[in-house]
C-alpha cells in the first residue's frame, strides 16, 4: 500500500496520531495547572486518596540525601517495595524489590542489590536523573502490589496492568498490558509486553499485539489472548471514571492494577497517554472521542452526569452502538 493510501485508511478509521493527540486533545482538554497532580506521583496519590480511590500504600518519600540514609535503613525489615521517582516519565527509574536475602534485596528481575547501591540509586532519583526536565526530584517508596492471579496464564512474570483512556470523564478505550519474558517483567509495550485491547462494554479482550504485530497466543505460556473476561469490569470502569473527578483532565490515561487482597488500585494517572492502545484494540480513538464530543454537545450542561457510574453507563451505551450515536 502506498503511503498516501495508508494515510487515507488511517484517517478513515479515525486513528489518532501524536500531532493530533497533542494538538486537538491534550492542548485543548488538559489544563496545564493540573499537570503536577499527574506528573508528580506523590501529589497524584494524595488527590486520589482524598477522592476515595484506592491506591498502593505509600511507605515513605525521600526528598534529601539525609532522608535517604534514614529511610532506607528502616527498609531492612521490608522485603517487598517499589522505589519510583515522583516525576519520572514513561516508567523510567522504577525499581521493584521482591524479597530480601543475605543482607541484599532481590529485584523483580532477579538482580541482587546491597544498601550502598540502593542509596546511589535513590540519590540519582533525587538529583533529577529521571525527571523530565532534570529538576531535582523526590523518590517515593510504595508498597508492592501482589497481583491478583485472575489473569492466570495470560501472564508469565511481572504485574499486568489495565490502561483506560478517560475522555471528559467517559471511559472510551481500554487495554491490558501483560508483561512477558521479553519485556523483562515490565508492563511496557515498547519493551515487548503484550497489549490486549478490551471491549468497553463487556470487558472481554478483543485483540492482542506485541510491538506492532497481532498475536493470538501468549509467547511464554501459549494461552489464547482474546476472549478473556476481565473480572469486575464495570467496577474497573467506574474506578477509572472516578479518577476524572479527582483530577479533571479532559484527556486522561488511568493505570489500574489488581491486588490480590486490596482489589483494584489506581497506580498512576497520565496526562499524555500513549497511542499504542489503538493498535492493541485494532481501532482508532477518534470515532469514540467524537461520539463523546457529540454527547456533551447535545446534553444541556446542567444535566451532564456528575456521577461516574452514569458516565460509564453512557459510555457502554455508545459502545453498544459502535460509537455511532
Amino acid at each position: 500500500m502506498s503511503l498516501l493510501a495508508i494515510f487515507r485508511q488511517l484517517n478513515s478509521h479515525g486513528v489518532l496520531g501524536l500531532n493530533g493527540r497533542n494538538g486537538r486533545y491534550i492542548m485543548r482538554c488538559n489544563n496545564r495547572r493540573l499537570y503536577p497532580f499527574v506528573d508528580d506521583k506523590i501529589l497524584c496519590k494524595q488527590r486520589l486518596k482524598e477522592a476515595g480511590i484506592n491506591v498502593p500504600d505509600l511507605l515513605g518519600t525521600i526528598a534529601t540525601q539525609h532522608d535517604a540514609a534514614h529511610l532506607l535503613g528502616k527498609l531492612h525489615n521490608h522485603g517487598e517495595f517499589v522505589i519510583k521517582p515522583a516525576n519520572g516519565s514513561g516508567g523510567d527509574g522504577i525499581l521493584v524489590i521482591t524479597s530480601r536475602r543475605n543482607q541484599r534485596w532481590i529485584t523483580a528481575s532477579g538482580k541482587q542489590i546491597d544498601l550502598p547501591t540502593l542509596e546511589h540509586y535513590v540519590s540519582n532519583i533525587l538529583t533529577g536523573m529521571y525527571s523530565l526536565a532534570g529538576h531535582p526530584d523526590r523518590a517515593m517508596i510504595e508498597a508492592l502490589v501482589h497481583f491478583d492471579p485472575v489473569f492466570g496464564d495470560l501472564t508469565s512474570q511481572g504485574v499486568p496492568d489495565i490502561r483506560v483512556i478517560v475522555y471528559h470523564g467517559y471511559p472510551v478505550m481500554a487495554m491490558t498490558r501483560l508483561p512477558t519474558r521479553q519485556s523483562d517483567g515490565k508492563a511496557n509495550l515498547h519493551q515487548g509486553a503484550i497489549g490486549a485491547g478490551i471491549d468497553i462494554g463487556s470487558g472481554h479482550t478483543v485483540n492482542a499485539v506485541i510491538q506492532n504485530y497481532n498475536v493470538h497466543e501468549h509467547p511464554d505460556t501459549g494461552a489464547g489472548l482474546t476472549g478473556f473476561q476481565v473480572p469486575n469490569w464495570e467496577m474497573l470502569l467506574n474506578l477509572s471514571a472516578k479518577c476524572y473527578d479527582a483530577v479533571p483532565l479532559g484527556y486522561l490515561g488511568v493505570d489500574i492494577v489488581l491486588d490480590r487482597e486490596l482489589g483494584p488500585l489506581v497506580l498512576e494517572l497520565n496526562a499524555r497517554p500513549g497511542l499504542n492502545i489503538q493498535i492493541a484494540n485494532g481501532a482508532g480513538l477518534k470515532p469514540r472521542l467524537n461520539a463523546i464530543d457529540r454527547l456533551i454537545k447535545t446534553t444541556p450542561s446542567d444535566s451532564t452526569p456528575a456521577d461516574a457510574n452514569q458516565r460509564v453507563t453512557e459510555a457502554c451505551r455508545l459502545n453498544a452502538h459502535d460509537w455511532k450515536l
Binding site: 501524536l18 493530533g20 523510567d92 527509574g93 506492532n212 497481532n214
Partner: protein, 515 residues
C-alpha cells in the same frame, strides 16, 4: 459580502507569508537584488589624473567632475589630493573639484577616481534647455547663416531632422560655400560642434555640448569625446556631431556639460590630463544595495547587508539557525524522527560547519562513543548527578583536546576544528544516551542517537546550502516566511510519516477490519 471566517492562526500565517514574500519580491523586481548568488554586473573604474608643474607660488587646480550622468551611476568616489586642500563645488555646468595650495614646487599628480555602473532609466540631462537668441553675426557670416538655416529648414521636418541635416552638411566631404566660410574662419570654425551650435542657434534650437568618454575604449589614455544634445521641447536628443547620427552610445559616460577644458590651473603649468578606464565586474548585490540607498529604501538600511563585513558572517550564520530549526520541526512533527534534546542537532550542525561533514561525523562518533564507554565506567563509581555530569564534561573536553593533538601530529588539519564542538551538548548527549541505554535498552538508545546524528546532518545540509544562505542574507525578511511555515506546521494534526508504519496494521480496507 461574506468571507469564510479563517482561523486566527491561519490569518497570522498568511500575513507572515505575504509580508515576507512581497518584501522579497519588491527587492528583486524594484531594487534588482539578485536571487542567485554570484551574479555579476559590469562596472568601470574611471580615473582622472591632473599633472601640474609648480614653481613655488600659490597653486589652484580645477577639474570638472562627472555629476549626474544619463545611464550610469556612481558607486564610490575618491580623491587623491596629497598636500592640496580640496573643495567640491556645484555649478550649473556641473561639479568641479578645486585643489589649492599656498606654496607648491615641482610636479604634482592629483587624482579623482570613481566606479560607474549601468543604471536603467531614461537618458536625460540634468540641465534645463535655454533658448538661445539668434546670434548677432557680422557680414558675410550673417547672410551665410541665414541662407543655411533657410536651406536646411527646407530639407527637414522637425527639430531632430533639422539638426541631423545641419550636421550632415557640416560633415560633408564636399561642403557648401556657406559651410566652408564658417569652417575656415578662425573665429567660428574651431570645431564642428561649436559651429553646429552656432548654426542651431540660428534656428533658436537649444543645444548643449557634451564632453564624455567611451567606457569601452581600449586605449590607455581614454580620449574625450564631444557629443551634441539638442532639446525638441520635450526631450533631450543626442547626436554624434561627427556623423550626424542621432544616438547616445550605451558606453558614453557624460563627464561635463558645455565647452571649455576638462582642467585648468592657475599659478602653475598644466602638464597633463589623463583619463584611464579599468573595466571590472561587480557583484550585483553591491550594486543593488547602492541602488536601494539611492531610492532611499528603508528596507535595506535594516538589513544585515548594512553591517560591517566581518559581522555579516556571524549574522549570516544566525539567519540560518531558524532554517535549521524549521528542518528539525519538519523531521520531528512531520517525519516523526526522535533525537536527544530538541535542538541539539542544530548545534551539532553548526559545529559541522567548521569540521565539514565527513570529518564532523567521524569526530562526533568517536567522541560520543568513547565518552559513552567512559560514562559506563563512571556509573560503577556511583557519582551523584551533577558531579557526574561535570566528570563527563571534563572527559569530553579531554577527548576533544586529545583528538585535536593527535590529528595535528598525524597532519590531519581538520581534527583541530573538533574544538568547536559544543562540548556541553555532547556531554548531555552522552548522559542521556547512557540513561536511555540502561532504561530502555541499547536499541532505543541507538535509534535516538542515530536519529540525532541524521537530523544534525540534514540540518547541516540545509544550513550550508549556498543558495539558501545567500537568500537569507539578502532577503532576511524571509525569516517571516520561515516563522509562518513553522506556525503552520505547529497546527498540523495529521499523521507523522513514522506513524504510517507504526499504525499500518490498523490501515486495512474496511472489509477486513473484523479480522
Amino acid at each position: 459580502m461574506t468571507f469564510p471566517r479563517l482561523p486566527h492562526w491561519l490569518v497570522l500565517v498568511l500575513i507572515l507569508l505575504i509580508t515576507g514574500l512581497s518584501a522579497t519580491l519588491y527587492k528583486v523586481t524594484e531594487l534588482g537584488f539578485p536571487i542567485a548568488p554570484d551574479e555579476q554586473s559590469e562596472a568601470w573604474t574611471v580615473q582622472a589624473r591632473v599633472q601640474v608643474r609648480a614653481t613655488g607660488g600659490p597653486v589652484k587646480v580645477n577639474l570638472r567632475l562627472p555629476g549626474r550622468t544619463p545611464g550610469f551611476n556612481r558607486l564610490n568616489e575618491t580623491f587623491v589630493s596629497r598636500d592640496f586642500g580640496l573643495t567640491l563645488e556645484n555649478h550649473r555646468r556641473g561639479r568641479e573639484a578645486e585643489w589649492a595650495r599656498r606654496r607648491a614646487r615641482g610636479t604634482h599628480n592629483l587624482y579623482h577616481r570613481a566606479t560607474w555602473f549601468r543604471s536603467p532609466g531614461e537618458a536625460s540631462l540634468p540641465v534645463s534647455p535655454q533658448y538661445p537668441p539668434v546670434p548677432d553675426l557680422p557680414e558675410p557670416f550673417a547672410t551665410a547663416a541665414a541662407t543655411l538655416v533657410e536651406d536646411v529648414r527646407e530639407h527637414s521636418a522637425d527639430i531632430a531632422s533639422y539638426t541631423a541635416e545641419m550636421l550632415r552638411r557640416l560633415n560633408s566631404s564636399d561642403p557648401s560655400q556657406e559651410i566652408r566660410l564658417f569652417l575656415t574662419s578662425p573665429e567660428y570654425g574651431s570645431d564642428w560642434t561649436t559651429t553646429a551650435q552656432l548654426l542651431l542657434a540660428g534656428a533658436r534650437i537649444p543645444s548643449v555640448q557634451l564632453l564624455g568618454i567611451r567606457l569601452n575604449s581600449l586605449e590607455q589614455r581614454a580620449p574625450l569625446v564631444r557629443w551634441l544634445a539638442i532639446h525638441n521641447e520635450q526631450n533631450w536628443l543626442f547626436f554624434n556631431p561627427l556623423t550626424a547620427e542621432q544616438i547616445l552610445p550605451d558606453d558614453f559616460l557624460l563627464w561635463s556639460i558645455g565647452d571649455g577644458p576638462l582642467a585648468w590651473v592657475t599659478g602653475a603649468e598644466l602638464t597633463d590630463t589623463q583619463i584611464t578606464i579599468q573595466r571590472n565586474s561587480l557583484s550585483s548585490l553591491e550594486l543593488a544595495t547602492q541602488r536601494a540607498a539611492e531610492k532611499d529604501s528603508r528596507l535595506v538600511d535594516f538589513s544585515p547587508l548594512g553591517l560591517p563585513l566581518h559581522a555579516q558572517n556571524l549574522y549570516q550564520m544566525l539567519l540560518m539557525i531558524p532554517l535549521g530549526a524549521l528542518m528539525i520541526v519538519l523531521l520531528r512533527n512531520i517525519v516523526g524522527m526522535r533525537s536527544f534534546g530538541t535542538f541539539m542537532p542544530v548545534l551539532i550542525a553548526l559545529a559541522f560547519r567548521e569540521t565539514r561533514l565527513l570529518a564532523g561525523i567521524i569526530l562526533f562518533l568517536v567522541v560520543v562513543g568513547v565518552g559513552l564507554l567512559l560514562r559506563f565506567y563512571l556509573e560503577r563509581l556511583r557519582l551523584l548527578l551533577v558531579p557526574r555530569l561535570a566528570a563527563v564534561l571534563t572527559i569530553v573536553v579531554i577527548l576533544l583536546i586529545g583528538v585535536g593533538v593527535v590529528s595535528y601530529q598525524l597532519n590531519i588539519e581538520v581534527g583541530l576544528s573538533v574544538a568547536l564542538f559544543p562540548m556541553v551538548i555532547i556531554a548531555m548527549v552522552i548522559e542521556r544516551m547512557s540513561i536511555s541505554w540502561e532504561e530502555r535498552g541499547p536499541r532505543d538508545a541507538m535509534i535516538e542517537g542515530a536519529g540525532s546524528l541524521v537530523m544534525a546532518i540534514l540540518a547541516f545540509l540545509v544550513m550550508e546550502q549556498m543558495f539558501l544562505r545567500h537568500l537569507m542574507l539578502v532577503f532576511p525578511e524571509l525569516l517571516l516566511v520561515v516563522l509562518g511555515l513553522t506556525i503552520a506546521i505547529g497546527r498540523y494534526t495529521g499523521y507523522r510519516l513514522s506513524e504510517l508504519g507504526r499504525f499500518r496494521h490498523l490501515a486495512k480496507p474496511p472489509a477486513d477490519t473484523a479480522d
